[in-house]
Symmetry: C2
Amino acid sequence: MRFISQTSSDGVTEQLFTLGEIPGVLWTPEDAHGPRPLILIGHGGGQHKKAPGIAARARRFAAEGGFAVAAIDVPNHGERPTDEAFDRIAAEYRARAAAGQDTAELDTALYTLVVGQAVAEWQAVLTAAQQLENIGGGPAGYWGVSMGCAFGLPLVAAEPRVGAAVLGLQGAPVLAEAAAQITVPVQFLVQWDDELMPRAQSLALFDAIGSADKTLHAHPGKHGELPRFEADDSLRFFARHLG
Amino acid sequence: MRFISQTSSDGVTEQLFTLGEIPGVLWTPEDAHGPRPLILIGHGGGQHKKAPGIAARARRFAAEGGFAVAAIDVPNHGERPTDEAFDRIAAEYRARAAAGQDTAELDTALYTLVVGQAVAEWQAVLTAAQQLENIGGGPAGYWGVSMGCAFGLPLVAAEPRVGAAVLGLQGAPVLAEAAAQITVPVQFLVQWDDELMPRAQSLALFDAIGSADKTLHAHPGKHGELPRFEADDSLRFFARHLG
């Protein structure tokens, strides 16, 4: 993990880093010393590691929860090179979703193309971050919705170091198998009027999650309209399970 | 409002009262002076104003939130005389529900029999309680699930003094009309494996609520298995909207 820059504001230190070919960012409470839980935040499709919603959430988790928070550009996003096959399927996905058509086949294609790499990269970031003096080897959490949930479900299923996850805005049937393997506490977010994810599919994916301790939070509104107070719930959920 | 007894423990004062023929209980923070929001708690079918889940929740709302909390025995419950027609339908309801049979007709019959009285009684209690020096005429909240939701939906729809409500464990189609008239913030609780309320009906009732600010919280488990941490969410919800 090679640190490139460091800035601090409002009590939070932000460090850009690279780990091999992965560009990332780490937020910690300013002057943090000693171990603390790490929360991984997975961005949505077309976003990147410092998208406004990602950075604002990360800063709250660090400032108010005392957590360390890491985000990376997942393959084909942010500073990463684009893969032609991925871009082609993603463009077709957006067109079909916007037209209200079924995207199950494209979901599966996209997922199959990058899920292995995405999970391996998150695991490498987790391993590297846990070497840091102000993080250490304690429990980790994962927050990711939409595409961040598509990669988060198999990560949380595969990775025993992740002890709690906030997921959602997702209902692709291809994810049910990973969901069924999850046993840690999950908070699953659904937008009741999501124009990209059919409500019944989202509820079915929540249903598929294997955890005994799982909670569905649904709010009116479209895919991009998660209410601001939901960030409070995420913070308390992580404090309860990782604190 | 005639007070019958007063005891205090763990920082909370509990006063039994009658208002006409209505037996009730009022919880306030010990030595509370000046105005504070009042939360009305409606108990479930077969329960009463001091059922363990009701009293424990009320004490938390008073001790941790600084709220005043009132509960009453609704008609045909607790110390109230029983009505033969109500008892007959309620017994048939329990038998049909236990057998997994449709209860829509009986829901409607029970509801029609007592809803007008229940709403009028809650309104009278609210009016009387707001005369008290340590409550005053500020905003009120309502918490009620199962039968407490069946009476709560029409109360919240009819009563402009109620500014926020936690409802749920309920899906009777007869309630959709009252639900549609509600405009205040609502948190609606669903038990994902509710053996008394079909999941699709519960989700349809949430869908019917007219409020722009409404949130569904669903958890695995049966009708009686609301997780303990949900009380934290109720407390924060009321603090956010009535505080």
